[in-house]
Amino acid sequence: MNVIFNRSETEADDGISLYDFILSTGLNPARIIVELNGSLVPGGHWRQTVLNDGDCILAVTFVGGG
């Protein structure tokens, strides 16, 4: 299936969880927040959130320093 990740269309396995999709991007789950179709999904819910065709995922990455 196709999803939109950070504004670019990309392929994803049917039935993939949000958690596994994030891992497939190479991003560090501990350092990102994720919106799915305009709503924030807390990290604790990623494993049970299943992606659908056409879903829109936005990930904001944090780096250390402050």
Partner: protein
């Protein structure tokens, strides 16, 4: 007479100073970002602050944080409180000397309409962002401010209408790109400026 208030009256209307003074701002972290952002907010007329940090002042902090050599060893929140009260002795300033986590964050910052995320660790930035993302608070985070040079890369990203992210989103502060006053202060200033614009009704 409160000298700072008197000075600020040169620049703002009574209505503007009232709006600024009425806003309660939570600052998560009193290091490079937080101590400097707090200083700029107080200089801008903010009077209600909650500042949280667990750390103490160390020599390595003095290159960028709003502390002084005679404050070494003091809890950062206490040293910062002393410095801010020198600017405005009438501040309503609450300090929390401890770690902010997913359990206590809402309570520590209860009543705050604005949150400034000024943590050091990326994992903590994520934790706090998730808590306040849909809270209705005006939230200003920061990510990517290590090193020196290319300060124009420290931009403001609007994630949604109450969530802004300051920084270059890339340069982690580490041994290769140590945190230095110019970029850290620019990031802190951009955070403070967003808060000021919000208080004045522009965003």
């Amino acid at each position: 007479m409160n000298v700072l208030r008197h000075g600020i009256e040169c620049y703002f209307t009574k209505e503007q100073t009232a709006r600024i003074a009425a806003m309660r701002v939570g600052i998560a972290g009193a290091g490079g970002l937080g101590s400097n952002c707090a200083q700029m907010l107080v200089r801008s007329g903010f009077e209600q602050l909650v500042v949280a940090d667990f750390d103490v002042v160390e020599p390595g902090n003095l290159n960028r944080q709003f502390f002084f050599p005679d404050q070494l060893g003091q809890p950062k929140v206490h040293a910062l409180r002393d410095n801010l009260l020198r600017l405005n002795p009438d501040l309503k300033l609450d300090v929390f000397n401890g770690r902010i986590d997913a359990v206590n964050a809402r309570e520590v910052f209860s009543g705050c309409g604005v949150i400034v995320e000024a943590f050091d660790r990326a994992e903590c930035k994520k934790m706090l962002a998730e808590i306040f993302y849909n809270s209705g608070c005006f939230y200003v985070s920061a990510s990517g401010l290590g090193g020196w040079g290319d300060s124009d890369a420290l931009t403001i990203r609007r994630i949604h209408d109450r969530f802004y992210l300051v920084g270059d989103n890339v340069t982690e502060a580490d041994t290769h790109a140590p945190p230095c006053a110019p970029r850290v202060h620019i990031a802190a200033a951009k955070q403070a400026d967003l808060v000021l614009a919000h208080a004045l009704g522009d965003i």
